[in-house]
């Protein structure tokens, strides 16, 4: 049955859209909430199943009366219409019974909700900031911070190459978390409202500019858990996934140590003088974040996002260029990148923008120049 259905839909796709270069492999589809890996997730799943069951029973009972009536009380069968038109007793009965059922539903829901909102006594705290269109994770107790961008290649999205298994649900750097540990998330955003959701953890909370929301989880099983932004946040709302890499507490500690070393190495690199070639190479890498709006070739989107190729900013004085990149432009989608990118990264990407896409300012911006402006 399942086979024949996917064959059928594959056949329909094959017939209906021959102009599609790629017919994707059919992945497994789900019918219910995914199996949870957190205690709250377990509670929510059983709550969901219970309430869905109650709803189904109510539906079947009510409409078996109606469909029996449709079957039996029809004119074509010669059924004569009764003329009764009210019964206070019935009205009371069918108001009170649903009310009692609702109270029965409200009790476990309230209990779960109270546990969900208790973010006290967490062992690890991660600050999550939503940006258009990526997430930034900061381990507040450990001085580690990084951005997490979609890593699905453009070619897959635009149907020029076959789509991978984790199409649109993969990132360059996942959020690494320990298992069996109460983790508290502080969620906010820097531009518009985003929402951080991982279905298996049963965590969904809006990141709101100017406010910090709290929520917690406790992951019971190591593994990779994938989710997405669930609040419309502009053009690439569909392209900012969340990936959580849950590791045992020991592995997590090892990961923390390795990342602290890396952060220290980055800091010393920022002190050094960078060559033009190195800046351009690194800048090209960082530019991926700009390309979402300004285009892979700096062409922008007419009347929505300005181009970088030939723009007054990218060909004008370097100070103004740095000002725009670091502090953003109020009232537009151009955000302040000084909180997201390191000195080295800003220096590299500005250098790259000034010397690519036909721009030829010729100047190399050094990390120290950026540091001086902070």
């Amino acid at each position: 049955m399942l086979m024949s259905r996917s064959k059928l839909s594959a056949a329909i796709i094959g017939l209906a859209v021959p102009w599609l270069p790629v017919v994707p492999a059919m992945a497994d589809y789900g019918l219910n909430l995914p199996p949870p890996v957190s205690p709250i997730g377990d509670e929510i799943l059983s709550l969901h199943n219970l309430i869905m069951l109650i709803c189904l029973i109510i539906f079947v009972v009510v409409f078996s009366f109606m469909f029996y009536s449709i079957y039996a009380h029809r004119k074509s069968k010669g059924h004569k219409a009764a003329q009764f038109s009210h019964s206070t007793r019935l009205e009371i009965v069918w108001s009170v019974i649903p009310f009692v059922i609702l109270v029965g539903m409200a009790i476990p829901s309230t209990a779960t909700l109270i546990r969900m909102e208790d973010t006290s006594q967490a062992d690890v705290t991660v600050k999550i900031t939503g940006y258009q269109w990526k997430w930034r994770y900061e381990y507040l107790d450990h001085g580690i911070a990084f951005n997490s961008n979609l890593s699905t290649p453009r070619d897959q999205i635009e149907n020029r190459s076959a789509k991978g298994d984790n199409y649109l649900l993969e990132v360059d750097r996942p959020l690494v978390l320990p298992t069996d540990t109460k983790v508290r998330f502080l969620i906010t955003a820097n531009d518009v409202i985003h929402s951080w959701w991982v279905p298996e953890l049963a965590v969904k909370k809006d990141g709101i500019p100017g406010f910090i929301n709290e929520i917690w989880t406790l992951i019971k099983k190591p593994g990779i858990y994938r989710g997405q932004c669930t609040e419309l946040c502009g053009k690439d709302h569909g392209f900012m996934p969340v990936v959580v890499d849950a590791r045992s507490p020991e592995d997590f500690q090892a990961w923390l140590a390795a990342n602290k070393q890396e952060a220290a190495a980055d800091a010393s690199a920022a002190m050094a003088e960078w060559s033009m070639d190195d800046l351009m190479a690194k800048g090209k890498e960082i530019y991926g974040a700009c390309a979402a709006c300004h285009g892979a070739q700096g062409e922008g989107v007419p009347n929505v996002f300005p181009p970088i190729a030939g723009s007054a900013v990218a060909t004008g004085p370097v100070a103004q260029h740095l000002e725009v990149v670091m502090n953003g432009r109020d009232g537009t989608a151009m955000q302040a990148f000084k909180g997201q990118l390191s000195d080295t990264e800003i220096a590299a990407v500005v250098t790259y923008q000034r010397n690519s896409f036909g721009n030829s300012a010729g100047d190399a911006v050094q990390p120290a120049d950026v540091k001086a402006l902070r």
């Binding site: 709550l47 109606m66 009536s69 709290e214 994938r226 709302h237 007419p302």
Partner: protein
């Protein structure tokens, strides 16, 4: 005397051609204008839905870019809500309320003309915003700040269009309240009014209460955009969540604005074809009033994930769950009306029955959404999309279709084509479910709403949903055909049309004369 007066009216015939429609103050003409406008917008909004479904037919970006996709989701909602459903119900109100309460016309005929003629201008502006520099509004119909602050000129055009629609709705609502309270025929006490009139009276109060709130919200957006205020900008001490509170204080009663008149329509249809009086009339009126009251204190259930205090979440959960009680009463009363009746299944009855069943599916998924902890999983996924299409399409839109078939013979004097009507019903009901039922599974499996592209595990149900949507969309061309055919000719309809229906509208000939009840009927 009465005959002399009638002759007098015949002499002073209304202007003909286009001027008849522009200058008309006749409730039947204005009803026709509203209904035609609604049908047109239904097609425009439907075409936008098909753009959305075509893009979602397959993973990957094929047809439109994400920015245009967002414009389509935004405009589809705005056009359907403010252009198709609300004016559609006002059209029914205009045609039917005076005839149902034995009034010669609406109480404020010139206001009536004006409230309609604002709409074409509002929608020219709204649809025109698609051609503004940078494209149309793309922040969702909810226009959440700060995303809507980022948008271009189109957002300002949308705000202005929303103001015009709001004025139109409030004027229309005032007219209905004044008509119902002042124009009822002798003997037509409030508790004798047909349920459709009751639902519209309560809807009108909802409109008057909440449209100005929406106007306030979008005006604050406008001043934030252009005049340096910071209502919703945290950098200036504002709060983006405040926009959501104000918006949904409008938005939730708005949901009932779109469903209460639908309840009214099917409460007229079911007794006629069950050949049995509506069961529990008084409790039906009470239930509508109860739903309307509750609609003002549940708004924040649209925003459980914004981080409210626990006590707020609990309050909005309990209040929302309570709505199930009066809504349940309505469903039970409809079933009890059918019980031991003598039923036949003409097209209006088929639509009415399917509204009861499918709306209940939407109602039950609404109950699931009210459960706050579970809502954290459902929120902003396709589960929600499925839910509100079950209440808005198979609730509001299909009730209007049923109502149109029910009263078309009265409006046109011709019977519609019953075979084609039934075909339209079955195509609509089947394709509707193919389109929207799989979306429940998509949402539960983790597909967010308002995304132009999706992960591979969502492919199957999206394919199904898109096929259903195209079937559903093209089936509506049949509706247009049946309506046009019925207007142009067909079997002559009697005054009663159906088998001994109740209500004053069936005491006048079909088609209803241009002026009815100039001498008020006596209601016993």
């Amino acid at each position: 005397m009465a005959t002399a007066e009638a002759a007098h009216h015949e002499e002073h015939h209304h202007p003909s051609g286009i001027m008849r429609w522009i200058t008309t103050t006749n409730h039947k003409d204005i009803g026709t204008l509203y209904l035609s406008f609604s049908l047109m917008m239904f097609m425009v909004g439907g075409a936008m839905a098909l753009v959305i479904r075509a893009e979602l037919f397959q993973p990957g970006l094929q047809i439109v870019d994400p920015h245009f996709f967002n414009q389509m989701t935004t405009m589809h909602a705005l056009v359907m809500i403010f252009g198709a459903i609300m004016p559609g119900f006002v059209g029914f109100a205009n045609w039917m309320i005076p005839m149902m309460i034995g009034a010669p016309d609406m109480a404020l005929p010139r206001l009536n003309n004006w409230s309609f003629w604002i709409l074409p201008f509002a929608f020219t502006m709204l649809l025109g915003s698609l051609f503004a520099p940078g494209g149309g509004p793309a922040s969702g119909w909810t226009l959440y700040a700060p995303l809507s602050i980022q948008g271009g000129m189109s957002v300002d055009m949308t705000i202005l269009a929303v103001h015009m629609m709001g004025i139109s709705s409030v004027l229309g609502a005032i007219n209905i309240v004044v008509t119902v309270f002042n124009m009822r025929a002798p003997g037509m006490t409030l508790m004798k009014m047909p349920l459709f009139v009751w639902t519209w009276l309560i809807t009108a109060y909802l409109l008057i209460a909440v449209m100005p709130v929406l106007a306030g919200a979008v005006t604050m957006l406008l001043t934030d955009r252009h005049f340096g205020t910071a209502f919703f900008d945290p950098a200036g001490g504002g709060d983006p969540v405040m926009f959501q509170h104000i918006f949904w204080f409008f938005g939730h009663p708005e949901v009932y604005v779109m469903i209460l008149p639908a309840f009214g329509i099917i409460s007229e249809i079911i007794p006629t074809f069950a050949r049995k009086p509506l069961f529990g009339y008084a409790s039906m009126v009470l239930a509508v009033a109860g739903i309307a009251f509750l609609s003002f204190i549940v708004w924040a259930h649209h925003m459980f994930t914004v981080g409210m205090p626990l006590i707020g979440e609990l309050f909005f959960m309990y209040a929302t769950m309570l709505i199930a009680v009066p809504t349940g009463v309505k469903v039970f009363n409809w079933v009890a009306t059918m019980w031991r009746g003598s039923m036949t299944f003409e097209t209006p009855m088929l639509f009415a029955i399917s509204v009861v069943v499918l709306f209940t599916i939407g109602g039950l998924s609404g109950l699931m959404l009210a459960i706050t902890p579970a809502d954290f999983q459902y929120h902003d996924t396709y589960f929600v999309v499925a839910h509100f299409h079950y209440v808005l399409f198979s609730g509001a839109a299909m009730a209007m279709m049923g109502g149109a078939y029910y009263w078309l013979p009265k409006w046109t004097g011709h019977m519609y084509d019953e075979k084609l009507g039934k075909l339209h019903f079955w195509l609509t009901a089947i394709f509707f479910n193919i389109t929207f039922f799989p979306q429940h599974f998509l949402g539960l499996a983790g597909m967010p709403r308002r995304i132009p592209d999706y992960a591979l595990q969502f492919t199957e149900f999206n394919v199904m949903s898109s096929i259903g949507a195209f079937g559903l969309g093209f089936s509506q061309l049949l509706l247009v055909y049946v309506v046009v055919k019925c207007v142009r000719g067909g079997e002559k309809a009697s005054a009663e049309v159906w088998d001994n229906p109740k209500g004053l509208e069936w005491t006048v000939p079909s088609p209803a004369p241009y002026h009815t009840f100039e001498t008020p009927p006596q209601v016993r």
